[in-house]
Each structure stands twice: as C-alpha cells, then as structure tokens.
C-alpha cells in the first residue's frame, strides 16, 4: 500500500466501531478504499473497487502489509489491529508507526516491523513484478528477507519481542507484581491523599 500516514479511520471506518464484539472486522478492513459503495455493519454483496491494491489478484492472500511512514496514525481504536489480523495480515512493514497503534499491535500479536525508508522503497520496487513478492519475516532473528537481497535487520524492544513470541497474558504478567502495586498505592495515598476516595 504505497501511502504515507495511513490513519486508523481508513483501516476501519467509524461505522464499524458500533460493534460490542471483538470479531467480524476483517470484512470491512479499508472499507472506503476496498469498496465502491458505502459500507454498513452486516452489509453483503459489496461492489469491490478493482483499482485498490488489496483487490489485485496477486495480493489477495497477502499476509504482510507494506506501507509508508507514520502508519496507523489517528484514533486509538484497537479495532484497526483486529481488522488487519482478521483479514489475514500477520505483519506490517513500514518506515515508522504511530505510537498507540504500535502498542495495540504488540498487545494483539500483530508484528510491526520498522525498516528504513530506503529498505521499504526497495521492497516496493520488488513488488512491481507480476508475481506476488515472497518475503519472510523472522522475529527470532529480527530479520526480513526476500528475493536475492541480503537480510535486513529490524529492531524491537526485548519485552515486546518476548510477548509476541510467547503470546503471554499481559494482565496476568502485571498481576504477578500485585504486591509491588499495592505497596506503591499505599505510599501514593499517603503522599497525595486527595487522589483517593474523593468522589462526590
């Protein structure tokens, strides 16, 4: 997807945020770009936009999304990450990501890979042939490889890497520190009592 500043309003438009569930968002990923008619929850028989990149035959089964800088900017809606994953993406490669979106990816198991502008440009060039580009993204070694190019390394903080690899229960992990939280809370309450129990 050769665009910069792809915002979460595009990834999943607001009319789909009315759902109280966590599933069913994949069908409406990039709804306003993927379809010519206006989408609503549950609407079927949609008119596909043949121009839109994800509708090209060779990208139909894509699992890696390649995009330009500042991907995922805008609203904090986690629905954007759910939609990307439920559509079938496992990884997004871009030169940079918006902060909240990046965290939402880590919390849901979608791998955000930041490569340099030049590396991303190289990958875009490589997608211009008729065949789908086959790339492999290895989180263990933190490398992306495709074609005959030499592997490109990406960085990710060790904590996020571990969470993605092991799929841990975030809340469970924090609750292991419950004693620490409780003792912090006691001391915080003494220092700033006005922050506690002041509901009118």
């Amino acid at each position: 997807m050769d665009r910069a500043n792809v915002d979460t309003d595009q990834i999943i438009p607001k009319q789909f945020l009315k759902s109280v569930k966590k599933t069913g968002f994949g069908d409406n990923l990039f709804d306003a770009w993927r379809f010519l008619d206006e989408g609503e929850i549950g609407k079927t028989n949609r008119q596909e936009n043949p121009e839109f990149v994800l509708n090209h035959m060779r990208y139909r089964d894509a699992t890696v999304l390649l995009a330009r800088r500042n991907f995922g900017c805008g609203s904090s809606r986690e629905h954007a990450v759910w939609a990307l994953m439920q559509y079938g993406f496992r990884c997004v490669i871009a030169p940079s990501f918006a902060d909240i979106f990046y965290n939402n990816c880590i919390n849901n198991g979608l791998l955000p890979v930041a490569l340099s502008e030049a590396e991303v440009e190289g990958m875009f060039k490589a997608t211009s042939s008729d065949d789908p580009l086959v790339a492999s993204v290895d989180l263990e070694t933190q490398q992306v490889t495709y074609g005959i190019s030499s592997p490109m390394s990406f960085s990710i903080d060790p904590g996020s890497r571990k969470r993605l690899l092991e799929g841990m229960d975030e809340i469970g992990l924090t609750l292991r520190e419950a004693d620490k939280i409780r003792s912090f809370e006691r001391q915080h309450r003494m220092a700033m009592p006005w922050l506690f129990n002041n509901n009118p």
């Binding site: 009315k18 986690e78 965290n103 975030e170 809370e185 129990n197």
Partner: protein, 470 residues
C-alpha cells in the same frame, strides 16, 4: 533538580518494572466511554477479574448517541447497533459498580469535556482513556494518555499501564497573539510546521507567553490536538489559572486537603534548567486564522493564502500525497481558500465545544444569518453543563436566531457515528480535530477551523476570514 514536568509526574507514578523488564505506571484516573470499553469488560468477565480500584473510574456516553431529543432515553436511539452499545455500557457500569453519567444525566458529555469540568482531572495525575484525545487533560499538568481496548482492560484490572518512557519535547509559543486568532489557530499552525509525525515518541510540553495568557479552555484545545502532531501526550505547567479553574468543582478535594493539594500542584512545573530532547519555537504574532485544505491535519494554510499545488512540496512522497488530497477535496491549486463554498458547518467536539468556544462563535453569529447555501449548521455543546451555561447566557438564542441548530451534547459530526454527518461530496467547516478521508461521513470533505472562523464561514456560506466579521 533538573527535571521536566513529564519526568516529575513519571517518577511520582513509577511502580517498578515487571519480570519482562517493562515499566509499570500507576494510573490515578480512568475515563471510559461506550466505543472502546465493551470488549474490555467482556475480557474481565471471561477471566473472572475485578476492577482494581473502582473509584478511579468514571464513565459517560458520547460517541454514538444522537444529539437530537433525548427524552425517550435508550428507546429514542433509532440505530439498533448504537443502542446496543449504549445499553452494554449501562449494564457494565451497573454490574461493575462504576461511576457513570448516562445519557439522561445532565453531566453527560464528551469524556474530555466532562473530566476537567467535574474536577475529575487534577494536576499531577496520570489519566488514561480509550481515546486518543485524552491528551486534552494535559492542560492541567496531568500526564494523560490515549490507550487501546486491551489497555483499558489492563488498567481496569491492575490500575497500571505498561509504558515506555517517552522523550521530552518543548514547544515554545511566542506572542503576542492577534485578536483574530485562537488556540485552535495556534495548534493548526504548529502541526503545519512540524507535521503529523513531528512529535512521535515524545511528550510535548507547551510553554511561552502565549500559553501563560491562555484560558484553560484554550490550553485544552492545544493539548487536545497534540495527538495530531504525533505525540501521545501534551502537557502544560500549573499556574493560578489552573487552580482558579478547578476550585469548587465536584470532584476536587475540599478544605485542608485542597490547601495541601494546591501547595503541591504549584510545584508542578519544569525546572528552569530542565533538558529537552527536542525544542521547537512557534511565532504566533504573525499568524492569520488557519484552515486545513487537505486530508490530514498538517495540510493547513492561512485564510489569506491559496490552495497549494503538489509542486510546492519538495519531496516526491509529499507531492503525491498532496495531489491525492486535492483530488479527494476537489480543490484546484491557486484558488484562494476563502472562495471555497461550503455545504455544512459543525461547531463542536472535544477540541472546541467548551463554553468559551461557544462564546467566540456566538460573538460572530450575533445578529447575522447563516447563508442560504448552508444545509445545516450545527452547534453541539461539549456537555450538558456547557449547554446549561450557554443557555443561561442566551447563546442558544443567538445561534437559533441566526439559523444554527442547537443540539444535545456528544461527539456528533466529529466522527459521524450517529446521524450527524456529511453525505458524499459535501464540504464542511468543522471545529473538530481530524480531516481524514471520510471522517465526517463517506466521501465528505472537512476543513478544520476555529470556532470563530466556523461561525464566520456559516454566515458567509464559504470559508471566511473572521477578521471581516469583527
């Protein structure tokens, strides 16, 4: 000491690190609304977990409720899916025993208007909400982050946010500010200068004489749009203004506790020798009213400028983005922006729906008429209390007489989850914060402006220079 305000709040809320090395930040206040919370409550229920500290939470409805007559309550919400969403929040707040301003409560409103108005936003606090514009609360010297739904669940269950410390950015705004410009013009100009990713990875602290002289409402408008500059949080130091705004609000401490709190709050400013990773200065003295022309919030020009051409942008990437935006917005390079005709006008949102915003718009609308080519001009107060206040000052009358529609509080056409929206091809002057494609309705076209410019534009029927109206 040589810390920034951000460093100080971080240090006073740092719980420790987890086994995996990530930092835990204690959260004092958690605000909730209907769109990003249902899946979080479901997660809690499925794992048989309980909220860690109930009284830290405060919920209200804002995003998907109608802004027309509310007297029928839930039954009055025509869209069954939106109704379910509101119903689910009602139920969740009841069953988890969370403090809640429901749609019939006179304190209901946009969550970022309600928090400060109730005094639920206090200096030195850490605040989170499943909404990116949580940065608004930074105007009170609170560290306020927008979070995703998994994090909403996490904060409910643990009172902590897993967080990496961000970098410090200082934005100094030098004045004096022209009379025709407001906080909205300042923040639009800043984003134009530094770009939508200009502050990624940073917490912005705003300072300078212009900030010192702004009202709390104006400060909130600036902090609100920090997210549009890529920052996750925006902050301002504490002064008499901050304290004056908070005094006697329902959730603030009383008596001796108030005095103690104020003594502490007044220490919440960056030290004079604090070190920032990035520094930016904005000269606001030469600013004219700002208007967005494109499809992201850095595509902004002054009202006296013309629509730019893709060739004006040095790099190829940017000029391509610009041509796509021009096509979507149906604008021709070289056209004076003040000649662009409008279909609708929206005065509202967490950026600009506080009492002062409505006063500024009313000043322009007083005794004038909305142009005949404008199909709807909405004024949507940020909360029930803002609405009451405005009505007691007669502002509703001024708006109605001029031909504006006076609505019930909510997010409304800021994101068009209810029936307030643009239809394909319609063009709108809007006081909200995002001009993304389709944000205000499928194929709708948004121009971000200040409340005064929005009112002037409604009267003129086109994007207008407010200076002609004062």
């Amino acid at each position: 000491m040589s810390g920034t305000l951000y460093d100080k709040i971080w240090d006073s809320h740092y719980v420790g690190s987890r086994e995996d090395g990530l930092d835990l930040l204690y959260i004092d206040r958690h605000l909730l609304h209907e769109v990003t919370s249902p899946q979080a409550f479901e997660g809690l229920t499925l794992a048989s977990r309980k909220p860690w500290r109930l009284e830290a939470n405060l919920a209200t409805v804002d995003h998907s409720i109608p802004t027309t007559d509310r007297s029928k309550g839930l039954e009055g919400i025509e869209d069954p899916i939106a109704r379910e969403q509101v119903e689910v929040l009602d139920l969740n707040c009841k069953s988890f025993d969370i403090r809640y301003f429901d749609m019939l409560d006179h304190r209901q409103g946009i969550v970022h208007v309600v928090g400060p108005e109730q005094g639920a936003t206090l200096p030195g606090m850490t605040i989170v909400c499943g909404d990116s514009h949580t940065s608004t609360h930074g105007a009170f010297g609170a560290l306020a982050h927008g979070i995703g739904t998994s994090e909403v669940e996490h904060v409910l269950a643990t009172q902590c946010l897993v967080q990496q410390k961000s970098k410090n950015m200082c934005v100094e705004i030098q004045g004096p500010l022209n009379e025709s410009c407001s906080a909205k013009d300042i923040i639009l100009a800043l984003i134009r200068n530094i770009g939508t990713a200009g502050a990624t990875g940073h917490t912005i602290e705003y300072c300078g004489d212009v900030v010192d002289n702004l009202s709390m409402e104006g400060r909130m408008t600036i902090c609100n749009m920090s997210i549009e500059a890529g920052a996750r949080a925006g902050l301002m130091g504490i002064d008499e203004n901050t304290i004056g705004y908070l005094e006697d609000r329902p959730f603030v401490p009383q008596g001796e506790l108030w005095n103690r709190a104020v003594d502490y709050w007044m220490t919440l400013n960056s030290d004079s020798n604090a070190v920032y990773d990035t520094k930016v200065t904005l000269d606001a003295s030469s600013l004219s009213p700002q208007i967005s022309w494109g499809t992201n919030p850095e595509m902004v020009i002054g009202v006296d400028e013309t629509v730019p051409s893709p060739n004006d942008f040095g790099d190829e990437d940017k000029s391509e983005t610009a041509s796509r935006a021009l096509a979507y917005m149906d604008l021709t390079p070289g056209t004076p922006i003040s000649e662009v005709a409008l279909d609708k006008v929206f005065i509202g949102s967490c950026t600009n729906a506080r009492i002062e915003d409505l006063r500024e718009a009313a000043k322009v609308a007083r005794g004038r008429k909305v142009a005949s080519n404008i199909k709807n001009a909405f004024v949507v107060p940020g909360s029930g209390l803002v609405k009451r206040q405005a009505e007691s000052e007669g502002l509703d009358d001024i708006f109605r007489k001029a031909g504006f529609e006076w609505r019930e509080p909510g997010c409304s056409m800021c994101l068009a989850m209810n029936n307030d929206r643009l239809y394909p091809g319609e063009r709108c002057a809007s006081t909200s914060n995002r001009n993304f494609e389709g944000r205000q309705g499928h194929l709708g076209r948004t121009h971000l402006v200040s409340p005064a410019t929005a009112a002037a534009s409604a009267i003129a029927g086109r994007l207008a220079d407010v200076r002609e109206f004062i």
